[in-house]
Structures are given as C-alpha cells and as structure tokens.
Symmetry: C3
Amino acid sequence: MEQLLTETDLTAIGEQMHGLIAELYPICRSITGDGLRRTLRRLQRQVPLEIHEVPTGTQVFDWKVPKEWNIRDAWVKNAAGEKVIDFRRSNLHVVNYSVPIRRTMPLAELRQHLHTLPDRPDWIPYRTSYYQEDWGFCIAADDLAHFKEGDYEVYIDSTLEDGSLTYGEYFVPGRRSDEVLLSCHACHPSLCNDNLSGVVLVASLAELLSSMAIEYSYRFLFIPGTIGSITWLARNEQQAPRIRHGLVVACVGDAGKFHYKRSRRGDAEIDRAVVHALKHSGEEIEVRDFSPYGYDERQFCSPGFNLAVGSLTRTPHGQFPEYHTSADNLDLVRPNALAGSLAVYLSVLRILENNAFYRNLNPKCEPQLGRRGLYRALGGLADAAQSELSMLWVLSLSDGEHSLLEIAEWADLPFDVVLHSVKTLVDHQLLERVSETTS
Amino acid sequence: MEQLLTETDLTAIGEQMHGLIAELYPICRSITGDGLRRTLRRLQRQVPLEIHEVPTGTQVFDWKVPKEWNIRDAWVKNAAGEKVIDFRRSNLHVVNYSVPIRRTMPLAELRQHLHTLPDRPDWIPYRTSYYQEDWGFCIAADDLAHFKEGDYEVYIDSTLEDGSLTYGEYFVPGRRSDEVLLSCHACHPSLCNDNLSGVVLVASLAELLSSMAIEYSYRFLFIPGTIGSITWLARNEQQAPRIRHGLVVACVGDAGKFHYKRSRRGDAEIDRAVVHALKHSGEEIEVRDFSPYGYDERQFCSPGFNLAVGSLTRTPHGQFPEYHTSADNLDLVRPNALAGSLAVYLSVLRILENNAFYRNLNPKCEPQLGRRGLYRALGGLADAAQSELSMLWVLSLSDGEHSLLEIAEWADLPFDVVLHSVKTLVDHQLLERVSETTS
Amino acid sequence: MEQLLTETDLTAIGEQMHGLIAELYPICRSITGDGLRRTLRRLQRQVPLEIHEVPTGTQVFDWKVPKEWNIRDAWVKNAAGEKVIDFRRSNLHVVNYSVPIRRTMPLAELRQHLHTLPDRPDWIPYRTSYYQEDWGFCIAADDLAHFKEGDYEVYIDSTLEDGSLTYGEYFVPGRRSDEVLLSCHACHPSLCNDNLSGVVLVASLAELLSSMAIEYSYRFLFIPGTIGSITWLARNEQQAPRIRHGLVVACVGDAGKFHYKRSRRGDAEIDRAVVHALKHSGEEIEVRDFSPYGYDERQFCSPGFNLAVGSLTRTPHGQFPEYHTSADNLDLVRPNALAGSLAVYLSVLRILENNAFYRNLNPKCEPQLGRRGLYRALGGLADAAQSELSMLWVLSLSDGEHSLLEIAEWADLPFDVVLHSVKTLVDHQLLERVSETTS
C-alpha cells in the first residue's frame, strides 16, 4: 500500500463525500426497511458491496432479528385541519419504529407522545422505539408552544411486519487472509455526522483500497447499529477471529478534533497505530480507554470475541450539541473535515500494512554507512540529519523484538520516515524482513 | 455481609465509642500489667474476647516476654513537702516502665530524669523505657520553670517482676477459614487518639460482625505494641498464613483526613479495597507506600510473614502535634470522626466480603437487556444511566480474569453500584459466580 | 572498595587533571597517527596502559582500519607571501585527515575548502574527513573577512599511508572476572572538554582503582572514537560479554550539570546506580533514554552486543556552544568540575562494588535491635533516626529478592547509609550476604 493521495485528490474526495451525504440525507433509514436498502443500493454505484437480508425472527445470539419497519407518511393535524407536524418535512418528526395509528385525540393525550428538546427549542430531537411497540412524534419545542388546546388528528402510515434485516458487506482480499475491519452504522435517518459521515468515509476507503496492492484483506460493513453487528457476528462467528485490527467509523465530518477510543485490549497494534498516526499527523487528538458504551465496538469487543477493534471519530457521540437532533445536518459536516478524516484513516492503514519485524544483518557495531553513501562525509557537526538518525534507530532496534511501529514510537519519528530508512537499508543488504507482526 | 447501619445508627455508635474511650482514659496501661488487664476486662462486656497471659521470659522469636510492670503511685515533692508532680493527676507524669525509687536529690540530679516538650510548654510528654531499666518523670515545661533549686523527694511505687504479658483475642468464624485480621495496640496510658480510638473501633467492628452472616473468618487482636504482635505471631506461626487481609487500626478519632499505608506487598487486595473504598467515600485520602516504621504492621509484614496487612488511620502517628502528649485527650477525638472511621472500615470489609470472580454467561455480544426490563426502552438519548453502564461493565469484564473490585476500579464506579448490577444480572441468569479472589 | 578521597584530595586531583589537560592540549591527535601515540605515552607515566597497534586494512566487522594520518605543517599564504592560516597556531586550522597538497589557487577555489562558523565569527571550527580523501582549512569567519581576492598558496605537509590504528588499554583484575568498562575517546586535537576531560578522568580513575581492593575487574580504554570501539570489539568479541557495567566518559570538565544517557537496556544496574548516585549527590541531574547517536556507547550497545554501557557527562556533546570549536579550550574546563565528576564516578563505582543480595537471618518479626545497642532506649519519640530506619529497611527487604541498590531506591536513602546498616547488621549476625547481583 503506497501513499496515493495528493492534497488535490483529498480535496476532491472531500467534496464527493459531502455530495454523497447530501444525496443520502433525505432518506428515512432505520435498523430495517427500505430506507436502509435504498442507501445500500446507492452505495453499490461506488462500491460493489453485497446486500444481505436476514429474516425477521432469526436468532442472533441472545437477540432475534426484529420485524421490518417501513413508513410512507405521517402527520398531525389540528382542529382546523392544518398539518402541524409533517413527516415529509423531516423524517425525524416520527419516532423511528412507530407503529401505525390514525386517531383523533385531545392535546393532553397527544402530549404523552411528543418529544422536544427544551434546551434547544428550535431543534427536533431524534428518538427510536425499536424493541417496544409504541408511537410518537418529535418536534421543536418552539413549535409545540403554538399548539392550542383542542383535538388533533394523528396519522402514521407505517408497517411493522415480518421481513428482514438488511446490511451491506464488501470484502477485498489481500495477500494475507488476516483481515482489517472497517464498520459503520447506516441506520439513522436524516442525521449527517452521526451516521452518514461514517458511511461515506467507509465507502471511500473501500473504493480506494480495492485498487491498491494490499497486505491485509479488508472487510467493510454497512450495518444497522447494535442488531447489525450482533447479526453479522452471529452469522460469522467462526471467521470473526480473522479480524486482526478493526475500527468503528462514525462522526468523522464535524470540525472537532480527533478522539480515539481504544479497543478493550487497550494496547493492541491498532491502538498503537492510531495513536502514533494521530500524534504525527499534526492534528489535535484525545485518546480514551475502552468503555462498554458507544457504537458497535461494544459487540466486536464483547468478551466472547474481544477483537482488536477501536473507534476513531472526531467529536464522539453524545458530545456535540447537535448529536441526535435536526441540527446534525448538512451544515455540520464539512468537506475538508471529511477529507482530513480520510487522510488519517489512510495513514493508520499504511502503518498496519507496513508494520513488520526486521533484522539488522550487521548487528555487531554499526555498519559503515558512509562507505555506502548513506552518511555525510564531513565529520564534526553537532547534529545528524533525521534520515541518518532514523537509519541508526532502525539498525539499533531491529533485533527481532521491535516492530517498525515500536521503533517509530521509541525513536519518536514519523512511521513514514522509519519506513523510508527501512527501504534504504534493505536495498543495501543491511536489513531483512523477518516476520509479520501478527500470525 | 449486608449494609446495616443508617446514619442514625452510626451517630449512636460514634457516641458509644467516645463514651467507652472516656471510661478507659484514666487507666494507666502499659505493655504488661493490670492496666492492660482491666482494659481488656472492660472490653469483655462488649465483646467476648479471650484474655491470654504469656509468662515473663517466654522466648518469642528474637525477643523475650519482659517482666510485668505495675504502678500504684508516684510523686515528686519539693523541699516544702508539696507534690510538684503527681501521678494521680496524670499517669503520663511517670516514664512508663519506671523502676521503683524513693530518694531525695538536688534539682540538678532530678533534671536528668525529667522530660518536657519545650515547643509545647503546657503539654506533658509520653515516654517509655521498656527494655532498659530506668526511671523518670514527664512534666509540662511551664511547670518545670517554677522548680526552685533545692532538694526534691522522688517516689515511684512500682513493681517490675516476673508475671505475664496480657493480650485479648476474639475470633468470629465465617463461611471460609481464610481470615481477616483487625489489630490494635492497647498499651498506651491516658492517650485517646493513639490507642483508645483504635481499641474502641476494633471492639465495635467485632461486635457488629459477630451478628452478621460473613464470608471470611475475622480475628480481632487487642495487644501491646510490638511485643504483642511478636508474641501473637510466635504463638500462631503456623496459622498466620490464613490471614488473607489485615488492617492495623490506630488514630481513627481525630478530625484529620484518612491516610492509608499500603502493605509491604503494595498491591494486595486489601490495598486496592481500601483505596477504592476511600476514593468513593467522599472523604479526602492520602495513600502511602509501606515503610518498616509504624505500628504492628511492621511485624505482620516482616519478610518471614509478609502478610497482606496495611494500616488505615486518620492523621498518622507522629504527624499530629498532640501525638504522645497529654493533649491527645478526650477533646482530640470526636464521636463523628469515630463514626466516619467505622463506616469506612465497614465499606472496606464489604468489598472484601463480596469481591469475587464472575462469568458472563452470554459473552458473545451483549445480551438484550431491554427485553428483560433492564434497559430503557426509548432510544436516542445521549447518556446511559449509571446502573445500565454498570451492567455493561460487569458483562464486558466478567471473563474470569477480572474480580468485581477490578471491574469497579476500571469502570470508576462505586463497588456497591457494581455489586448491585451483579445481583441483577445473576437474578436474570446472565452471570454466574466463578470463584473467590483468594484460595 | 572504600571511600578514600577527602575534599582536599579531590581538590588536588582536580588541579592535577587540569594540569594534564594543559600538557596534552597542544598535541594534534587524530583517529590514527603520532599525536594519538604521544598522548598515550604521556598517560603511561601515570597509568601502565598497554599500547596496541592494529595495521591499516585490518577488517573490523563492517569496517577496515584506515590509513594512518600524520601531519607536520600546513599553511595558506596570500599573494604577499604572508601566512594567513598557520597550523602551528592551532591544529584545528587543518581539516583532520587532510591529504597533502601544495598548490596556488584563486580565492574563489580556496573558499570551497574553507570552513567557518558564521554565528561565532571569532571561533575556529573543528572538522574531519576520515573516510573520504579531501583537504581543507578551518578559520574564524572574522579572519576570512579580511581575505582579498587574488591567488593563495596552499600547503599541507601530511601523509596518509598504510600504518596502524593505535589505542591504549589498561586492565586491573579484581576478585571477580566480571568487568567494569570505562572508555574514552582520545582522537580529538586541541579540544579540552570533548576529549581531554574524559581522557584525564579515566586516567585518574585507573590510577586510583589500581591501588584499591576491588570486587570487579576494571578495563580502561583510551581509543579513537567509533573506529576505536569497533576495532576493540572486533578483537575482543568473545570476551566482551564479561563487561557487566560500563560508562563512556566525555565532557566532564565544564561547569554544566550532569547528564546521564541510559544504556540501550534502559534499566540495567549501571543505569540505576548512576541515577541513584546522582540523586543523592546533591548535584543537579538530567537523565535521558538511550539513542543510537552519541559516543562509543553506540557500538557497545549495538544489538549484537547490547552491553550495559551508558554515558555520564556534564553538558552532552553538541549542546554547549563551544563544542567542536576552538573555544573548547583550557578556560572551558575547570579543576573543580573535573574533581566533582571524579567524585560522582567514584560514588557510582562504589555502588557497583558493594551492591549484592543479603538475607535477613531473623525474618520473622523484627529482631530486638535495642538489646544489641542498635536502637535508642527511650521510647515515645515521633521519629526514628535515619540509621535506625535504614536498618529496618534492610531487614524488611533483605528477602533475597532485593539488592542493596533496590533497597536504597525503595527507602529513598543514600546507598552509603544503607551500606553502613548492612555492615552493622552483618556484625551482629542479623544479616548475611547471599549472592552477587550479576553472575
């Protein structure tokens, strides 16, 4: 895997990603149903992903695949027959997975089914009721303030019936059967950062990697949150341990700094690769230990699997005010933030791809680099150049016990600088590759 | 072991403890003799402890049980026949273990045997001479200032003869033969915080635990400092390794913050339990590494035993100005401080009693908590409740490698919250107990 | 090895070291040749070191011993026939290892071979060209500013011919065959701190240790940098692992604080001994991790040897402005700084010599120190004396798992205080020596 993207490439891909978000934004997705299917079919135009359908009722570990939910329309009309809430204006207005209803009721009763955000009175909240049959509407508190006493007609034209759970999967074989997992949830309706930014970043990575020479095999998942990863793990229980490194992708389009949540293992190679890549990226970074609350890393890291899967986001879920509201919209995500996230993900993958153990073939004293044109001829200067230092570090630590990533960490040098030294030293028969970092 | 004490209970016990200190305060205790015996007999009214007598001259490791010391009266009279020092006013006036004397001598000679605190001129120091036969008086520097030149009559009506060393021991059997040790020294005369606060706290713990269903067996020791623990260890050398956890109790009645001195092992379960309990107690806390200077943990942690025994105090010995002076009196110790110390000790014991390894019975992906009524139905909120988080932590880390205490530490949750989750999960057949933490 | 030197001794030795530097300063040393030989012969008057000669062309690992360089005279004359550069005024004027030349050339061509320090216009830089045949002159930028256009006659009367590489070695056998290495480079011309300060310190250590009763055998090397250590290692490949501890000595005469660069192992006994000695020396200290750039520790720590060799300097190479310039002269190095460095080195060696594992012969409870006159008789005081604390620490930790150095570290006591306690306890049959720290 070589570095491919110029700044110009990145800028263009950032714009494309934002364009795709705009295209997917209006679709009313859920953990099942046609909105999710339409989303995956649109992605197939970019990446030849396979669409899986898992029937309602299928047992997946402790869970069952739920009924499939679809919605065509929904509104609330006041006594004057005016639509005071209209699903067609925002699919967030309906509590996701609401059962069908058509009934007239007084405001007091309706209020039991209305959700607002008193602290953000002009924003619509996003609410779901996947596993308990219910119905409800979400509206801006400012709008609710105008509701007068009286009767309201409530209409939700949805179905909750046997069907299937849908997810997308794309596999790119590499030289090794060991896999890198990149997973995003694709179950949220009109929300941009929490959901669509991850979807388009994973799609872009999939597209880019499918045309590269790669060491690892790559698996890209576009799944509904929680039930999707549980379903995938249940159907791939035997193969799951092939996943050597993984990242759950979400919230990568806002302007916030990067946050990395470590895998449950805490010091896996993926954890060290992400921290190293971010440290040398020039980006601000905050690293957090694993906790069993968050996205699908909860399932991938459950103790029965304990895969080396972390989560690399910009502002994490629940920590930006727009999270799970109508303000998580097309303005919150930015092309350059998406492009910057892509670049960081690629630099992490580049470390994984190239990390290995090497052996110094001349371990007793330093080899004479000067004779090979690798060291300045004039002596007496106070400092060595970074490239010379890097060669000395690689020679010093390539005793079969330190991977290139560990050498880069110890030397506090960017991985790419170390990698460049490795190539030079291999070319001069001073170093040889010993083994991969995982087997 | 369940939590039993309400705030009202604690307040009442704090008052009782202070009352008992007041009752024991006037007794002239030493490392042997009738003062110590009277103290232990008074404690028998509260706890059915056994009183052991070990004869003078008994070899206990490198030491011999010393002669027994008793004192009836002591004074110094000036030339006018006035008592300028009087043992009956404070038993601190006599150097503990002073040999008998009745003689008249000039002030210059008497001064060789007088001890004062020049920095605290109105306080009487506490001094001992256990292992070198000598005599002396301790007085306030201000009082000594009034002594005029001339002859003084010195009288100490003491005996130092073959007898025995006395200590109290109370054993409460639990479900397991593994023991928890709670030890205090009971050899100091009229000193409240350094000595009596520990005595009454251990007595209260003994009384409370004797009526509880307990996992561990508990051993309570009321012993003279140093020689008492050496004697007990010499007489119980084979059984001592049954002590899995131990605390040396002293200085628990002053208003200072808690200090925990780790066991020599440094990271034993008792060390972690105390630190965790204090961290979540809302109390300020300072943790110190083991050093071979202090109370009887010196002997319990000596390398030939190396028991997991720490020491939990408020202000440690030697670090409050009243230490070993007449100012360590009934005003220095407070009922609410005693009660607070008792509460912390009970919370530590509660951790030891309940700590264990559990196994997640559904380790592959999370179990569906919502279906069991253990998780809120409405989705989309930014934060999970602490009880839900705690269940997720317990499920995530119950892989047989993390005890509940380690889970509580990792999750940074109070042990009781974790314990509550454990009970819920066990009730729902999602978790099972695997093993004790020590065997 | 006992402590021998009084402050008066140290002051005298500091003056002697400075005097020897003054004597060696004018000699034009290089990595081969007569300047190095003369330097070693002068040292033989102080220490009976052996002078080795290794022929040009000898293969030493990846390197070959270079041709021998000697120089008699060199100058540059302007058109008026005036010597504008004169080797006899400073041997730094000629690029070390310059090939012979006698030619007239215009200033523009000469400039290609002139080196200055624009930031320090009155200092002459020090430059070398060991492994690429070239010639050049170094001068103060201020002097070059006066050069006028025109022709200059250039003359270097040097030879670069087959000969040998010279180094000095002195071995002092101790009770053990395990060795302590003290190595310095002796290849620099008129430079005082970087080179001569190390040379005279190693010579003084060699002289002092040759008359002491010592545990370890000591090996002192006076070698040309890089090629010297490579040559020594190549000729002593089998015996090199006998080196248990080593220090590369340089830059020990300036007024700066001490810097210790750890061995590649990072936590070897030598690393801990130096850090401990410096910590308790009252000197300011900065500790740095190993890096593969510096002095001959690069070779001793190369992965094929990985010897426990660190480097203890005052201001490290390259970090004082005078480094590798004519300002690294007799004023930069100070007798008292040299003496202070010697004292620190001796305190490190004293730790290595005396470090060992001891066993507490009375491990169950404390022994009765008071009975043996080792503990104050009067009880009740708040603090123990340092010597009593030290005895308690030694007894507590002498379980066969903690060396004296580890005990001193844990107790935060000076090694000498711990050592004194050890002697007392051994005298009283309370402690016995178990084993050396390395075997």
